[in-house]
Subunit: 422 residues, 2 copies
Amino acid sequence: MTASRVTATYRIETAYPLQDAAESMAGEQSTGTFVRLPGETDELRERCGARIERLTELDTVAAPSLPGAGLPKGAGPNPVYRRAEVVLSWSLENFGTSLPNLVATVAGNLYELRAFSGMRLIDIGLPAEFANAYGGPKFGIAGTRRLTGVEGRPVIGTIVKPSVGMGPEATAALVDTLAEAGIDFIKDDELQADGPHCPFEARVRAVMAVVNRHADRTGKKVMFAFNITGDLDEMRRRHDLVLGLGGTCVMASLNSVGLVGMIELGRFTQLPIHAHRNGWGYLSREPSLGWSYVAWQKLWRLAGADHMHVNGLQNKFCEPDDSVIASAKACLTPMFADKPCIAMPVFSSGQSAKQPPATYAALGSADLIFAAGGGIMAHPDGPAAGLMSLRQSWEAAMEGVPLADYASSRPALARALETYGG
Amino acid sequence: MTASRVTATYRIETAYPLQDAAESMAGEQSTGTFVRLPGETDELRERCGARIERLTELDTVAAPSLPGAGLPKGAGPNPVYRRAEVVLSWSLENFGTSLPNLVATVAGNLYELRAFSGMRLIDIGLPAEFANAYGGPKFGIAGTRRLTGVEGRPVIGTIVKPSVGMGPEATAALVDTLAEAGIDFIKDDELQADGPHCPFEARVRAVMAVVNRHADRTGKKVMFAFNITGDLDEMRRRHDLVLGLGGTCVMASLNSVGLVGMIELGRFTQLPIHAHRNGWGYLSREPSLGWSYVAWQKLWRLAGADHMHVNGLQNKFCEPDDSVIASAKACLTPMFADKPCIAMPVFSSGQSAKQPPATYAALGSADLIFAAGGGIMAHPDGPAAGLMSLRQSWEAAMEGVPLADYASSRPALARALETYGG
């Protein structure tokens, strides 16, 4: 029986012949070193070597995208850098079903190879054995909808701002206002964890008292994503505190916690994991380097992330809209036939009533969290009107009615479009 | 009493006025959002805002280094992109002494800010409170020298190659050859962990039987860094197995394990941690993005890394020599007056007898691990001669004798220089 294989797709750029360059990648990430060694037999290469599954030439460029790349012998004064997409595969027997060891293989020393002036991991293909080895999201879309009581539209949320500086009571007072206004979801800022200005335990107690009071009255419990990012013991204690007080979500910063910490959190959590991607820019912003979100998000979903941040359309950051939509679609695409591991995409960053129609049109789904900060809190008629404007904008989007038309009889939406642009 | 502050130094590039750009960084990573909110008082800004400690203008460029950057209003058709070094500081009260939360602040959403076409974290300055919160390396240079019995010269080592494919017995046979030759240190390849071809436990048992047999005979125990990279439970079990069988080192891939996993490993380990940086390229290769090694290595040393990979001079990767030396010097620079947290730099990648003189001249220290693969195994007179050539080259380097002179009466070194270049 043939062992299952893992695939990884890369966008490469090189002045070397493409086939040679792809072979050097395959060698480096399987059996190779810089000279062929006595133990490296043909049988071993066949069994353990990485295989080139596909090599598709793309465009060429005159200048290297990244510094440090070498040139082949005999290169002229104006070398051409060829771009290509290459798919490598490895036998699962090289590393087993371990996500950390997978990462060392598919995203290890490749990025520094001299032959390349561009190296970006575009996608990863995992065999079904990985679905058995990791739990995936425990809640996902269905669990989040059940806990928030929101059906048939996005979960609408906000971020506690100012990011840092408000104490537990001020935070709870803000939550009171937002719960009164009918919000579905609120998250800590990723900069807020357990600093002396706003200790975690005091914040959770103050916030949950408010959340529970509103829930007792209305039957609707606001989902508050408490930022439990910290050492492992801290994350455990914080999770247990949130759970014990009736909270329904914990948040963690993926790049701060890392893969082993997130796998551990995914195993012990009894609450949805709201996964924050801060730092994503350093992994992705140079198009010729790093990770695509499509590849990257698979690791965290398998480890157990229920909500994945994807930025938002017309965001305040530098990411173009098509990239945001590709990320969100990736989160909504099943990973395995029997275990889809769907994570709910979280749209945020400069969001207001103006973005829902384009978001819905491009994504074709309302299974998402739509989070606005200023888009709710800075509405001229207050947070309740800000929140109302977001719901109305999503209604318009899902009914296919132009925003301006829908706003004509809805003052909250009309004022939002005046304020944020429409 | 004033709270201690954390500093972070960035290399930025922007078409906006530098002061405005630096203020946007400070705002984003402390109190800010895209509109000023009701709760954001001047007192709160003073207490919790990030402060610009220094802003030093550097050169200008005509084209943006990274895509996605915006232009200020009124920018002409040929905007100038200014580069600068900016130092920000935060009160420790914003996040406490938590490394994961520190990372979310100093290396969080900054990299995606539209105002910037370049954003690289150059250094981090941590107050002494962090030294109390984390353990740092438990072994470092002194512990590694004690366990290997090597004084007054580098610890000389090698990597088991082929990277993947040899079973436990073949690995142990190689270790036998190397131990016989007098090697100090051997490491697993980062691609080798616990795959079916070479299960971890069988490998450790086979290798340690050989290592212990040689130690019983000679009194010198080869330090073998077993790659324990895996989920947390796996790392614990593997560590305990290595410890129980008399092993003296464990290895972990930093970017696979992540910060919380490494902090946990740093707490429970009773053995030196050999920290592998595979994947470092995606964090660093674009000079206008990501992390400098100087900033990055501080996190892992504080978490407990005893050995840190720094690449090597004239390496097979794309990193220039001055960058390698800067990284190694960083590892040897104390982090705190009372707790230096020194990690031993590991030189590897394409190393042979030709590099020691330049390495010693540039670094000014022999407190390092010098690891060669082909430089030992592919020596025409065999591994013992390869190893001898490395020792001789280091002797020459430390005595200030030109390699060619030293080689004239030393055949192993002479043959190495013929083989690998001199």
